[in-house]
């Protein structure tokens, strides 16, 4: 047991959880003979403060506590959870989860390396030890700075949130892993007005970090980007509609990878044969310049995990290596199906949700090109800079992402600002048509959340500047 696990186990002692109780619940869950079972204990304390109309006048606190019990037989999953950590309630959840296992089957646990104790998000101070009064001045300063940056800003909203989350995962084979997972997020949103026209702009930063995350430079970016986006929207129009070359700016353009290939590489979809990337392993799907990674180990990243939500060690998983498909994202069920080691991608929104293979921080490795040369290579196209959301059809491969801000490219130069356009394309076609990869990889600092089967999990994404030959742009007439 690592020191981290020991301290998390001790933490859950306040709720009556110890190794004897864990053993008893697991015995109830596995009594009928199962392939796998785990308990996922979770305790989180969250705080948020919000500002509007010049006052930090909202505070939210929340506490979440519970346990999820999962029993696996083959690829059948029984799941139950409870917010009540009494022995009676947990035993009932264990028996419920086990009810799918009644058909029998011998336990065949697969060997998994457990958390080696490396910490991708060490903190010097828990959020619970930060007084609310330390958060308030920060938020107020962001508002003042936003108003100071432009006379055209008429409304500012700002918020600051943080969570201390502790999870304890106990497996049928007797292993126990614990993880302390901090999270913080700050958001500034502005309304700008010019000649009767109003537009909004916002920016947010997020990470598994402590209060020291908010250095002067980050706070400045938070405010200035929110203000500048609102002002730029006042001047922005719609691009023409139709197919055109697209240049994706470094940073949050990683949303394209998330939608165009990331979800399709989640192994549950492939195991069921319903992903467009099913049976494509080892095949070439993109040019040599393209290497795509899903990484749980980026220091302090929102998507990072020391251990996944079923107790597997996490890693940097290469999905596409120099254009060739290399690995799916596995949880333990799919790893057993494919006869490979889990990639530490088993995640869940909370103890209320069963585990699914999910992304963590998805990005493309840097390529050889100068970003300016990439823009200069486009005669007429769209430069996409900031994004709101995206979506994908796993089997058809069609994906879409919504561009909040961008520019037209005319004769190799950024010209008119554009806003609010949806882009749509086919994942495999777009990967094939990546023409240039920049040397400027940037991991976006924004607070992205990925949704799948009704579960939201924190993720990160990143991208160097990339040129795509053709995407369908939802422009105006």
């Amino acid at each position: 047991m690592t020191q981290q696990t020991a301290s998390i186990l001790a933490w859950f002692g306040q709720f009556g959880i110890d190794e004897a109780v864990i053993r008893q619940i697991l015995e109830a869950a596995t009594r009928d003979g199962v392939d796998d079972a785990d308990l996922y204990f979770e305790h989180s304390i969250s705080t948020a403060v919000g500002l509007s109309d010049g006052a930090v006048n909202r505070a939210h606190t929340s506490i979440d506590l519970g346990v999820g019990v999962r029993v696996v037989v083959g690829d059948q999953v029984g799941y139950a959870y409870t917010e009540d950590l009494s022995r009676t309630s947990m035993l009932r959840a264990a028996r419920t989860a086990a009810s799918v296992a009644r058909s029998g089957g011998a336990p065949t646990p697969i060997a998994t390396p457990y958390s080696a104790g490396s910490d991708h998000y060490p903190v010097h101070r828990y959020w619970s030890d930060v007084d609310l009064s330390e958060r308030v001045p920060l938020v107020r300063a962001w508002e003042s700075a936003a108003f100071a940056r432009s006379d055209e800003i008429i409304r500012v909203q700002a918020s600051f949130g943080d969570t201390d989350k502790r999870v304890l995962i106990a497996r049928a084979d007797g292993s126990v892993s614990g993880d302390y997972r901090p999270m913080t997020q700050a958001h500034v949103s502005c309304t700008a007005e010019r000649a009767g026209q109003r537009e909004t702009g916002s920016y947010n930063v997020a990470g598994r970090e402590d209060l020291s995350y908010y250095d002067a430079a980050r706070q400045q970016r938070l405010v200035e980007n929110a203000v500048d986006r609102a002002l730029r929207s006042l001047e922005a129009g719609k691009p023409p509609a139709g197919e055109m070359p697209v240049v994706l700016a470094a940073g949050s353009s990683g949303i394209l990878l998330h939608e165009a290939i990331g979800h399709g590489m989640e192994a549950d979809f492939n195991r069921k044969g319903i992903s467009i990337y099913a049976n494509q392993m080892g095949k070439r799907i993109a040019p040599d310049e393209v290497t795509i990674v899903d990484d749980a180990t980026l220091p302090g990243a929102r998507g990072s995990l020391n251990v996944d939500d079923e107790g597997s060690k996490t890693e940097r998983t290469v999905l596409v290596e120099q254009g060739t498909l290399r690995s799916y994202l596995h949880d333990r069920i799919s790893a057993r199906h494919y006869g490979v080691a889990p990639t530490g991608s088993g995640r869940r929104e909370s103890f209320r949700h069963p585990v699914l293979p999910r992304m963590r921080s998805t990005y493309m490795d840097a390529g050889p090109h100068d970003p300016q040369a990439i823009i200069a290579s486009v005669e007429r196209g769209l430069y996409c800079e900031t994004f709101a959301n995206g979506s994908v059809q796993i089997g058809a491969g069609d994906f879409a992402f919504y561009v909040r801000h961008g520019y037209l490219i005319e004769n190799g130069k950024l010209t008119r600002p554009v806003k609010d356009v949806n882009l749509i394309g086919s994942g495999p076609k777009v990967l094939e048509s990546i023409e240039m990869v920049g040397n400027d990889l940037e991991i976006d600092e924004g607070g992205w959340t990925c949704g799948k089967e009704g579960q939201g999990v924190p993720v990160s994404q990143g991208m160097p500047t990339v040129k795509v030959r053709n995407l369908s742009v939802g422009g105006g007439r």
């Binding site: 006048n57 029984g78 308030v136 949103s189 109003r198 467009i276 879409a400």
Partner: protein, 439 residues
């Protein structure tokens, strides 16, 4: 008084004793079950009983809202203490207040809302399994060599919610829900298009039979085969009834008190003016018996009532709760939307669309978003080409874009086919001259 109300009331009493001048508590407990089947077997079964408490307090004129699922007595007391203490660190908000007691209550009885189907308590695990197996068999009857995989799900649950406020309001509401659905993935060259159908109802007997669900799920997937874009341009839009909620839903942002207050609403200062074609009427009705979004009170505990939002194209009112009513100096209406109803027309959409040589029938969306301040929107779409009222080729990889207010002006007709399986009960909507991007 029920145990749940007593529990919420004790939290309010404790908050007041610790120094809050006002408090409100929402206590909930519920159970739900979901079964998913694939390949002739249960893929996943989830069952849970849940509970939680949300407590808002006003202490020294300062507002905090808080939630917890740790309801052990000693933990609860520490939680309430923390809610009240947190207030001392922030600044006062003079507009925070509970509504006047006479504004609170229920406009419609639990019995009249008819959300709490007694069939839920009688439902057995065996019945649930039988329904799921029958649905899976019905899906299998549609399978052919192009079918890769199908899955089906049945789920149901029941939730009790108690609300207690220090202004004297105390009430409880119960509701059950039932869901059944199926999806399927088909082979289409290199592509594996998928689609399905899912239905939700407050009463088990209101769900369609398994043959209907399976037939529709299979048909919707088959309609995706061969999907391709057509050339960009301006086309009439035939917005399928079940997809209308996504476009109408754009209205919810700019109609909200929060957007008005943040001056980011394209509908600001538009009450009593025309914002849509006279063909459009939009009603908010929380009182519909068995309605999926029916509710006895709004988010502030204010009596829920039927409201006309748009009357023959003219905007009637916004969604303004107590807080934003005081911020904006407007009368309070409701904190947010419940069921939305667009009254149907008399002609079928096929009849109306006969006049158009080429129109685009949109059955679902992929991604996309909208801007509440400007009304601009852009969504990915899937659907079919409609030629002289007849559905022809399958469309995909296209976007529909424009401005909400311009789009609503272009509504030329509403169909006669309201979709009742959603909280947005709309018929198919027909618009002329809408911008689509494709090739």
């Amino acid at each position: 008084m029920s145990e749940l109300i007593d529990f919420a009331a004790s939290a309010v009493t404790r908050a007041l004793a610790l120094g809050a001048e006002e408090a409100q508590a929402r206590a909930s407990q519920g159970s739900h079950v979901q079964i998913t089947r694939r390949g002739g077997r249960v893929e996943q079964a989830t069952e849970a009983t849940t509970r939680g408490l949300v407590l808002s307090v006003l202490a020294g004129g300062r507002f905090t809202s808080n939630s917890t699922s740790d309801l052990r007595p000693e933990a609860l007391d520490a939680f309430i203490r923390r809610c009240v203490e947190a207030a001392s660190y922030i600044e006062p908000d003079p507009e925070r207040a509970l509504p006047a007691p006479e504004e609170c209550g229920r406009g419609v009885s639990q019995a009249a809302l008819d959300q709490d189907d007694p069939a839920w308590r009688e439902r057995t695990a065996a019945e649930r399994n039988t329904q799921a197996e029958a649905l899976e068999q019905a899906m299998a009857s549609h399978a052919d060599e192009s079918t890769i995989s199908s899955s089906v799900w049945v789920a149901d649950g029941r939730q009790s919610v108690a609300r207690v406020m220090s202004n004297g309001f105390a009430d409880q509401n119960e509701g059950a829900w039932f869901v059944a659905g199926a999806d399927t993935t088909l082979r289409d060259g290199e592509k594996r298009p998928e689609s399905g159908a899912s239905y939700a109802a407050r009463h088990l007997s209101d769900l369609p039979d398994v043959q209907t669900i399976a037939r529709e799920a299979d048909q919707r997937a088959r309609e995706r085969v061969g999907a391709a874009p057509i050339e960009s341009g301006s086309y009439p839009l035939v917005l399928a009834n079940r997809a209308a909620g996504r476009i109408l839903g754009i209205l919810a942002g700019p109609l909200s008190g929060a957007s008005l207050h943040q001056r980011r609403s394209c509908l600001a200062e538009r009450v009593d003016t025309r914002i849509a074609s006279p063909v459009l009427t939009l009603i908010d009705d929380p009182t519909i018996p068995r309605g999926l979004a029916s509710q006895p009170w709004d988010g502030d505990g204010r009596i829920a009532q039927r409201r006309t939002i748009i009357d023959s194209g003219v905007l009637q009112q916004y969604y303004v709760g107590t807080y934003h009513s005081r911020k904006l100096g407007m009368p309070a209406t409701s904190t947010g939307r419940s069921n939305w109803v667009v009254p149907p027309g008399e002609r079928s959409w096929q009849d109306v669309a006969t006049a158009w040589p080429r129109a685009i029938y949109v059955t679902s969306f992929l991604g996309g978003n909208s801007n509440a301040a400007s009304g601009d929107f852009s969504f990915g779409i899937r659907g079919r080409l409609v030629e002289n009222g007849v559905l022809t080729s399958s469309l995909g990889e296209m976007n529909v874009s424009g401005n909400l207010l311009e789009l609503l002006e272009r509504l030329v007709a509403v169909g006669d086919d309201p979709w009742t399986w959603s909280s947005v009960v709309s018929p198919t909507l027909l618009f002329d001259g809408v911008s689509f991007s494709g090739t």
